[in-house]
Symmetry: C2
Subunit: 381 residues, 2 copies
């Protein structure tokens, strides 16, 4: 299969010889124009028309009532957790199978990640396994949920739409409501993806996006928080700008704040990129169809596809191989051939700094960790 796949991918990307990266950005619109405008206007920093426009565009695209431009996805997640009320010594539920930023952001609040298993097909937090786990370890007292084993408050739940594949987020929202756990949706990888007609990132109390260089669209570095809650939106903007109380000239600050605002220079790039988002996603969905066609001939390989009623942005295409040995062999071969592939992340609960964190049974995540591989998925333009 591997030889054929190298050939197939080289044809797909019309690249007979050179290295094919996993995901690289495409700048085919107004990127240069908008970025030059910021330099000409001198508004390159955290105030400027592209920051405002970026927020408007994010509202239009996601359907959220409010969007706040943030310096990157990790900072957006940290701030969203602060806004959701996560405090020192709390626990925050999240996937063991996720990028490290999710777990790190929880520690920035001095809270502890509490790792839960994922669905073996969507690769996102599993509603049924989370319910089973909560039934075992959680108890609701007043308006809050506690871990009976540690005595700690479970202050939030952060599901992630892995590789842009929407997870069963509506069931997670219902479950979290039942247990009085605020839900912060990590949509860092799933901009433009939807579930049951609603954009990912807009199901929870707050949603978080990333515009890192490896994402579907990029701001160089950038992030966003979306929410329908006006109070939280105002607080997000306030805390992301060092909590400075507005005044003509006086410097007064009423909270511990952060330097988390997206600069206008980066927002300019992001606005140009967002103008092409639907074309890019269309293009990426076509690529996913090509991979589907290819793997029809290889039934031993599972290609992870959007579930019913979901529409993925297919940020990164993911396949499941038969074993860790097959995976390692595949990775070696493909990367030697100049076609970049990579395994999924090491599970969070295996990293030194998270060894002591509470966790559920993680059978699915452990199984998937050995077998999942990403394929080149850039927009082909």
């Amino acid at each position: 299969m591997q030889e054929e796949l190298v050939k197939y991918i080289r044809e797909l990307f019309e690249e007979p010889e050179k290295f094919i990266p996993l995901h690289e950005p495409r700048f085919v619109g107004n990127e240069k124009k908008y970025v030059l405008e910021t330099i000409e206007s001198t508004f390159v920093s955290s105030v400027g028309k592209f920051v405002d426009r970026f927020e408007e565009m994010m509202c239009e695209i996601t359907g959220a009532k409010h969007a706040i431009a943030i310096v990157n996805g990790t900072s957006a997640l940290h701030l969203a957790l602060v806004l959701a009320g996560v405090e020192k010594d709390d626990e925050v539920l999240t996937q063991a199978l996720t990028f490290v930023a999710t777990a790190n952001a929880i520690t920035y609040c001095n809270a502890s990640p509490h790792f839960v298993d994922v669905d073996s097909y969507t690769l996102g937090l599993s509603p049924s396994l989370l319910r089973k786990h909560l039934n075992e370890i959680a108890e609701v007292k007043g308006n809050a949920c506690y871990n009976k084993l540690t005595g700690k408050r479970i202050a939030a739940c952060v599901p992630m739409h892995t590789f842009g594949l929407p997870t069963r987020i509506d069931e997670l929202v219902e479950l979290c409501n039942e247990f009085h756990i605020p839900l912060v949706e990590d949509a860092a990888e799933s901009l433009g993806a939807s579930y049951k007609g609603k954009q990912t990132g807009t199901f929870g109390l707050l949603g978080v996006f990333s515009f890192n260089g490896n994402k579907t669209v990029t701001a160089g570095g950038g992030g966003a928080i979306v929410t329908d809650d006006e109070g939280l939106a105002k607080l997000a903007k306030h805390l992301s700008t060092q909590a400075k109380v507005p005044h003509k000239w006086q410097y007064h600050h009423d909270h511990i704040g952060y330097n988390y605002r997206m600069p206008n220079l980066n927002a300019a790039l992001a606005c140009a990129q967002l103008e092409n988002l639907s074309d890019f996603i269309q293009n990426k969905r076509e690529l996913a169809e090509c991979y589907l066609k290819f793997f029809e001939s290889y039934p031993e390989v599972i290609l992870h596809r959007e579930i019913e009623e979901a529409k993925s942005n297919y940020w990164l295409n993911a396949i499941q191989l038969a074993s860790r040995e097959k995976r390692d062999e595949f990775l070696s071969y493909m990367n030697e051939q100049g076609v970049m592939t990579r395994p999924i992340w090491t599970l969070m609960n295996k990293l030194d700094m998270f060894l002591a964190c509470p966790k559920s049974d993680l059978s699915n995540a452990l199984y998937l960790e050995d077998r999942i591989v990403n394929l080149p998925s850039s927009v082909r333009i």
Copy 2:
């Protein structure tokens, strides 16, 4: 004086009518060229040649052995404190008279700021007052310093070169060495300024710079850490990129890390700006001379100038008025006339979130807080 000053400033900036800001960036070099290069190369994110070049330029400019490009000054300060070994429940000495980012960064380490008084002329941490305070409250046990009153470790000291005026940093280094307190130099405002022939930011274990939009040169948003310690430099780069262990494709992380790397897009702007740094500083020093000449006729006003053996970048010119009433009157008049002026920051110990923090006698800071005002200080090109 006020009427004459408005007239004088309008002449200096050749701006008879329009609003004159406190400090705005100037893009007169390769800014557009370099930024377009990043878009053409598609390397807009945290890897790219401008990030590397920025770090080389920072080494050349400051004379530090190592420089690490960071997303902004606040994040650079946070990371520098982590690198200096600041931990939960420690105390960190800093000025009561500083921008809020200094104190906030300390809280990100779950440490408490411990506010000390400033020198009434340099506006930076006073070596003599710090010595007096440490003699009263500090005791050295083993290789660490403790606050006898709180029992907490004093894990670092963060002096700041206010408005680009170098403080007596060599005496502070000597004092901190004596008390076994690592010194992190907040040179956010003093890029290119020197004391006794050595650049600010290079006296302590680590130094921190800011490239925010209001600084002498800008990256839109940006920061840097400098150090002569190779181990700390490597760790800074590692922790600023989510502590990912280098590997061809595997995702493994060995520390709590941060998304703190400066994007190449921003580094491109910074490189172009740094090429003009010495011209900009020369220009700003000429402006400072103009203010000196003006205030010679007004002996009731103290213009804060560089001390002997110091060379300021004169980021923001600062004057001291006779009283809080005079200051408020001055601010109202100048801002109404479209010439932006602003008071110095509210003292950190007066902000709600820092009310309970330990502090020394703060007589100088209290006096200055009522009287210091900044004047328009942009590069005139």
